[in-house]
Amino acid sequence: MEGEMMTGNLAAAWGARLVDVDYVPAFPITPQTEIVEALAKWCESGAMAARFVTMDSEHSMMTAAGAAAATGARVFTATSSQGLLYALEVLYSVSGWRAPLVLVNVSRALAAPITLEPDHNDVLAARDCGFLQIHAETCQEVLDSILMAYRIAEDERVMLPVIVNLDGFYLSFTREPVIMPDPEQVKRFLPPFRPAHLGFKASSPHALGVAVLSGTPYSYFRHQMHLAAINALDVHREAAAAFEQLFGRRYDVVEGYRLDDAEDVLVMTNAFASKGKVAVDVARAEGKRVGLLRLRMIRPWPADAIRHALQGRRAVAVLDQNLSPGQGGILFQEVAACLYHEALRPRALCSFIGGLGGKNLSEGELRAIFEQTAEAGVQGKGIGPVLLYTEAEHREMVQLQVLAGGLKS
């Protein structure tokens, strides 16, 4: 077997090391800690030339990261969950400065109640901040996506920061074989960072992120960010082609799995998509025509690619590993919106919520999704949001409530 056994966290750290970042401001949080530990060790030993600084919080960390990127430095940092939310205010500033750093988020569900295991309410809370978002399925994809993220972010047509997301536990602490890209090839893939609009020098003063105090310039500059994000779709395509040529692995904005003749399609993201693919194989072996569409790029939203993959299907199910209380699955809304004008739109759209707080996504749950989706397709009527929660889990929950409340069951 090629490569070496590596956790998603270590793969993320290697991504930063391979692109030869200049600066790493850091603040540890479970389950991201191994990333900053590895980078701290490498910076200390001289294996990396970067300056590593531990900050007092994620808010300071992102401020330092953005400020350093504004001087023209290549910057990497990483956080998770509450840390990402604490940094959220600064994320909007950094993207407004058009400072193209890369931030790794290791997904972990948000408090309260508090937990350590993943869902995507953390990273999707940063959906609208102007950072691009790439969500990875494997440890290899974590590393490769960081290389691609810098190339896309630093392109003059984009110049926006990027979040690369990986699931806590399911990738962060999971080791699997990862092929290490050759550092010389990485240099060919990623040219040196020379932004025209950034960089502070003596005798060349400029101000960044200035006050505009009027809607006309404000609208103009925010819209520029939107156009830059849309440009990232083309830039991603170019980066994917160049990456494939150098490293032999291909990543597109969405990934279709056994879609060719699929009647019903399950839409997923991140590490659980692997389990979804297994479920597709199981269903296919039983003669069901099902397939999977994995969304890899969440911002910019790859509407055309999604439309193309889902048009003409009988039914589409979106499995959201997040929950917007009072609304439902976040990605379901976006998938539904981009299908509205599609003449051949699926007969039924189904919304499922699963894996909240890292709850296991079982084979039986995936089977239930395919069954309910097929039925919805036959009826021509969508369903949801349906929370994936089994009778057995319900009984377990009642036991916990009894213990916590001192109540009779």
């Binding site: 077997m1 089994t390 009778e391």
Partner: protein, 305 residues
């Protein structure tokens, strides 16, 4: 695919053992995947780790619901419902238990289903390393033998993983030697892979609205931590030698779990149902009136309710 689930207590090395197995399989040319699961890490608390070994890329992730092989680093975990050792085990599952009991004795005492095999790794570790926790290499080697991996790959994997933890070369070599002795000594049992039937469709039951007294994450039951007995976390128990005790109350003051109470004549009484065996009282006692005694299986004070 071979699916191996490890159960241990924080500090015993179940995670490292799962990595040793994964690396050994990888060195033999297999695709491997290993991952641990734990909450807020504590020494002695139940932890689990998973290793998958296959010829093709592995797309399963997270918990192993139907293991082909279960490796239990601490026999007391079998009785602890929170450890979920019994989940998905049937009569075809290969099960290794680190215990002084024979497989037959262990089966009779624990009513564990599956094809059992045992070895007293804790005793070997105590004799060889003088430490109770250091059994990761031994567990990994035993798991490797039962999973059908080669001796050489186990040895190589132990070297890599222990070096990764920063252990010195002589310590690593000592571990390799003893681990390979365990590899040779463990009685093998047949390993049946992929025996699990495809799962049926899950019976979903979407929760309905409940008043906030039940619908919010709050605990109103007073002092319910007493329900969670943690005595099974011990490998050693502190035992009082009454003649040596000077009644200074230091053990009472230092106990991090509040399981030591004092009698009217200033003698400590230890709540063995909840003492986790951290030995802080043994270390702090100025007169050596508290001594550590190894727990004997079948005679533990702790038992599941």
């Amino acid at each position: 695919m071979r699916a191996v689930r490890f159960h241990g207590r924080g500090g015993q090395g179940a995670k490292t053992a799962s990595r040793i197995l994964g690396t050994a399989a990888f060195l033999e040319g297999f695709v491997a995947q290993d991952s641990p699961i734990y909450g807020a890490e504590r020494r002695g608390a139940p932890v689990a780790a998973f290793t998958r070994i296959a010829k093709d890329p592995i797309r399963e992730r997270g918990v192993i619901v139907h293991p082909d092989l279960v490796v239990i680093a601490d026999a007391s975990l079998v009785q602890d419902p929170a450890a979920r050792v019994l989940d998905g085990i049937d009569e075809r599952t290969a099960v290794f238990v680190n215990t002084s009991l024979t497989a037959e004795q262990c089966q009779a005492q624990t009513s564990l289903p599956g094809r059992l095999t045992t070895l007293d790794l804790t005793d070997i570790a105590l004799q060889q390393f003088g430490k109770r926790g250091a059994i990761s290499a031994l567990l990994g080697a035993v798991a490797g033998r039962l999973a059908g991996l080669h001796r050489e790959s186990m040895s190589g994997a132990i070297a890599r993983e222990l070096a990764d933890l920063g252990l010195a070369v002589p310590v690593i070599e000592h571990n390799q030697t003893i681990a390979l002795q365990c590899y040779d000594a463990v009685r093998t049992v047949p390993l049946e892979t992929g025996a699990a039937q495809p799962a049926a469709s899950a019976q979903l039951q979407v929760p309905s609205y409940e008043p906030p007294t039940r619908g919010t994450a709050r605990i109103s039951a007073a002092a319910n931590s007493i329900l969670r007995e943690t005595g099974g976390w011990r490998t050693f128990r502190p035992v009082l030698v009454p003649d040596k005790c000077n009644g200074c109350w230091l053990c009472f003051a230092y106990c991090p779990d509040g399981v030591i109470s004092m009698t009217k004549d200033d003698r400590p009484v230890i709540d063995y149902a909840h003492c986790k065996g951290c030995q802080i009282c043994v270390h702090e006692c100025p007169t050596e009136a508290l001594v550590a005694e190894r727990e004997q299986e079948g005679a533990v004070a702790w038992k599941a309710k």
